[in-house]
């Protein structure tokens, strides 16, 4: 059968395919066969070490001489981590968030694990590090690294917000107010933010709006001073911080359709209840409360000691940055 190839002198198999195609009768190179043998040895070793061969009649399998199981490996990894974290976690369990804040070592620990919790649970709405995230309707959720708080910035307020969720309602005014009234009051609200409340009150251009504000239902939530009430989460309208779009058009939309009012065009502002959803444990919520507090905007508990008041001061500069 075989014939010598005219150039190399190695015999071919003697076949010719497709007019010109032939193949040599070469044996595999020695290094190749050695590699094959080595891999066969490796297979045997691997199978001896790990659980490998099933034994169908007894419904079990050869467990491997290494005694390896996935559960054992996971437990070993977990205990390594727990050895580091365990002592802190045990302490955390029975402490209030305020007590954690008072312990600087614990606060440092909580800030680090809080970063992961915040990133996975909070950052999608509040933005990485609480700087806020925006979609086409504006801010998705309040900015957390300033010192302006809808529901209060004391450690217990923050803890309550995270564990219980928040869902305020501002009713739609498209039926109770005329288009002209909405225009007027929106102008007044914008003037309060732009010029300050005192100046807006004396500004004759927005006097009509002030009248609507004082005589309709605005004051019942935002207060006669328009500074909002933290108990119900109504916004302070006299500062330059806007939860929703602060342009004239944006303000008109908020007034017309409300917030969480059920109207299809209403603004949506829902903070989920993380405790009820089973998403976060008690310790994790405490950690997050401390972590958020430590963004810089946390407010000390009353009564205010003079020293603590200055601590909160640097955060105020962040307010202008978030405009």
């Amino acid at each position: 059968m075989s014939e010598k190839h005219d150039v190399t002198g190695v015999p071919t198999t003697g076949h010719v395919w497709d007019d010109s195609l032939a193949d040599f009768a070469n044996q595999p190179p020695k290094w190749w066969m050695l590699g094959l043998a080595a891999s066969a040895i490796w297979v045997v070793v691997y199978w001896l070490y790990y659980p490998s061969v099933p034994v169908p009649s007894s419904n079990t399998f050869f467990k491997g001489i290494g005694g390896w199981t996935a559960i054992k490996e996971m437990d070993a990894d977990k205990s390594e981590v727990d050895a580091v974290r365990g002592k802190y976690e045990a302490k955390l369990k029975n402490m209030t968030p305020a007590a954690i804040l008072a312990d600087s070592e614990l606060t440092e620990y909580v800030k680090r694990s809080g970063k992961v919790l915040f990133g996975d649970n909070c950052a999608p709405c509040h933005g990485t590090n609480g700087v806020g995230a925006k979609d086409k309707d504006g801010l998705v959720a309040p900015i957390l690294n300033d010192d302006d708080w809808l529901y209060g910035g004391q450690i217990d307020n923050i803890h309550t917000t995270i564990s219980g969720g928040r869902q305020a309602v501002m009713v739609a005014h498209k039926d109770s107010l005329s288009a002209q009234q909405i225009d007027d009051v929106a102008n007044y609200v914008k003037a309060m933010s732009d010029e300050g409340k005192d100046k807006a009150d004396t500004d004759s251009a927005v006097a009509a709006g002030k009248k609507v504000f004082m005589e309709s239902d605005c004051t019942s939530c935002h207060g006669a001073d328009a500074k909002g009430m933290q108990a119900m989460g109504s916004a302070n309208l006299t500062d330059k911080i806007w939860r929703f779009d602060g342009s004239l058009e944006g303000i008109k939309r908020t007034i017309t359709y409300g917030v969480n009012s059920g109207d299809p065009k209403a603004r949506i502002a829902i903070m989920p209840n993380f405790k009820e959803a089973g998403k976060l444990s008690d310790s994790e919520i405490k950690k997050l409360a401390v972590y958020v507090y430590k963004f810089g905007g946390g407010q000390p508990d009353l009564p205010v000691a003079p020293v603590q008041a200055t601590v909160a001061q640097p955060a105020a500069s962040a307010v202008t940055a978030t405009k």
Binding site: H5, H15, A22, W32, Y50, P51, V116, A123
Partner: protein, 468 residues
């Protein structure tokens, strides 16, 4: 081509079926990579085309994957089989008419299946997403006729032996039918839980391991000896390659489920099979490399050889990754990250696409007896494909390592998303480059059919590539 659907078999010119398959495959390649580029844009720019569920990533990804696997890769294989199988048997294709009907039904069925996936009708199982009746159609009207034609051509050959390439082709069409029928059992019998997961991945992996990988390798066994004129280095290594693929690579499916509650012995079994892919891979690569002795100049000069050898060289990193990334020690790090996406594209867009490209370039020129319209455009296609793929692979591998680190070290997910954003943009650039190169290829092949220089009788297209 459609005029031959109702012609008598003997009236159809030899090679018509292969040409039909070849052009279909290129069109699907353009569509498939276009969809890929679109999907990559969605991942790089989240606000790109929103508000319509048909263009959502979940829908479009399935269409992309199936357009590429069943359109481009499988139809290019069909082309290679219609052309190479008879050539190696010194005979004609058993039935040109069956071949043309097969390609026609393939295009119709695939268009229908992809449309259903597009509008959201899916089985929801990765890589076997088609609904059950499309799976049935694929088995009966697409896979079986191809198998019959290949087997009958091999059986009616006019040579004494069967050449290496045809072992793989004949085995490939046989194995893919089994893989398809068994792999879709969960669909047909509503199997659930781990059984479903295992069979789904048994299908997904064996489509690669018993269909795409061996058939793509078989193309190199033909093109390299044929174009260089060197006899294949070793018939015996070809044997080792063939049997080690069939034996060692039959059931590595569980290595996709290393974190699932499957029996540990099954994972060990699959993991070992995964590493043993190195045996056929090294056999294949060394056989082709040794065949190239004395003809390495053709790697530079000849387009088909360059495509083939690039594909063969890419088999090395492919199998190094594939062999080791599924072992317990490495899988926990890379599982579920962009690393795997890069690896899948190394297999399909790297290794196998370059080999199929060689077959389609060589086959269409030979069968149409026309020289490539523009070698410059051919070279452009090659380089844009290679560079685009390299950008894709590199960026996704890096993104995968970042994701792996994020997963292990409890980095907040959103931070990982931000960190990998530049690599997502790079992936989109690479993918778009691949898409553009394929548009160039389609134009080049179309012009070859219309205006390519006629190859004189007794000569091969690559022999006159540089003649004006």
């Amino acid at each position: 081509m459609l005029k031959y659907l109702f012609a008598k078999n003997e009236d159809i010119p030899a090679g018509s079926a292969a040409i039909f398959w070849g052009f279909s495959s290129i069109v699907w390649f353009v569509i498939g990579t276009g969809l890929g580029s679109f999907n990559a844009a969605k991942l790089a720019f989240p606000d790109f085309v929103t508000g319509n569920e048909m263009f959502a990533f979940g829908h479009m990804r399935q269409v992309h994957v199936h357009a590429v696997i069943f359109g481009w890769i499988s139809m290019a294989f069909g082309m290679a089989m219609m052309y190479i199988t008879p050539a190696l048997g010194n005979t004609k294709l058993w039935s040109e008419k069956l071949g043309i009907w097969n390609a026609f039904l393939w295009n119709v069925g695939l268009s229908l299946g992809l449309t259903l996936l597009w509008i959201g009708m899916t089985s929801g199982r990765e890589y076997s997403d088609f609904p059950w009746f499309i799976d049935l159609y694929i088995a009966v009207f697409m896979a079986v006729p191809l198998a019959i034609n290949v087997w009958m051509t091999v059986l009616t050959r006019r040579t004494q032996g069967i050449y290496t390439t045809n072992w793989f082709f004949a085995a490939g069409v046989f194995m893919v039918a089994i893989v398809f029928i068994v792999g879709n059992l969960p669909e047909w019998f509503h199997l659930t839980g781990l059984t479903e997961a295992y069979l789904t991945w048994w299908f997904a992996h064996n489509v690669l391991g018993l269909w795409i990988t061996p058939v793509a390798a078989a193309i190199a066994y033909y093109t390299i000896p044929k174009v260089t004129g060197n006899p294949l280095y070793s018939h015996r290594i070809g044997h080792l390659h063939f049997w080690s693929v069939v034996v060692f690579y039959s059931t590595p499916a569980a290595h996709h489920l290393m974190s699932a509650p499957l029996p540990e012995w099954l994972k060990s079994f699959a993991s070992v099979e995964g590493v043993l892919i190195l045996v056929p891979a090294i056999a294949f690569v060394s056989n082709i490399m040794l065949t190239m002795q004395g003809k390495w100049n053709m790697f530079v000069e000849n387009l088909e050889v360059r495509f083939t050898i690039t594909g063969v060289l890419l088999a090395i990193p492919l199998n190094m990754q594939g062999g080791f990334q599924q072992t317990r020690a490495i899988n926990w790090y890379v599982h579920g990250t962009g690393w795997i996406v890069a690896h899948a594209h190394l297999a399909l867009l790297g290794f196998s696409t370059f080999l199929e490209g060689a077959a389609v370039y060589l086959g269409l020129q030979t069968l149409m007896k026309r020289k490539l319209y523009s070698l410059t455009l051919g070279n452009m296609h090659f380089w844009m494909l290679l560079i685009g793929f390299s950008i894709y692979w590199t960026s996704m591998t890096i993104a995968g390592l970042i994701q792996g680190a994020g997963k292990i070290y409890e980095v907040p997910y959103i931070d990982v998303v931000i960190a990998e954003h530049p690599y997502m943009i790079a992936r989109w650039l690479g993918g778009t480059m691949v898409f553009i190169s394929n548009v160039i290829w389609l134009y080049n092949m179309w012009m070859t059919a219309r205006e390519g220089t006629v190859v004189p009788a007794g000569r091969l297209p690559h022999e006159i590539a540089y003649e004006r």
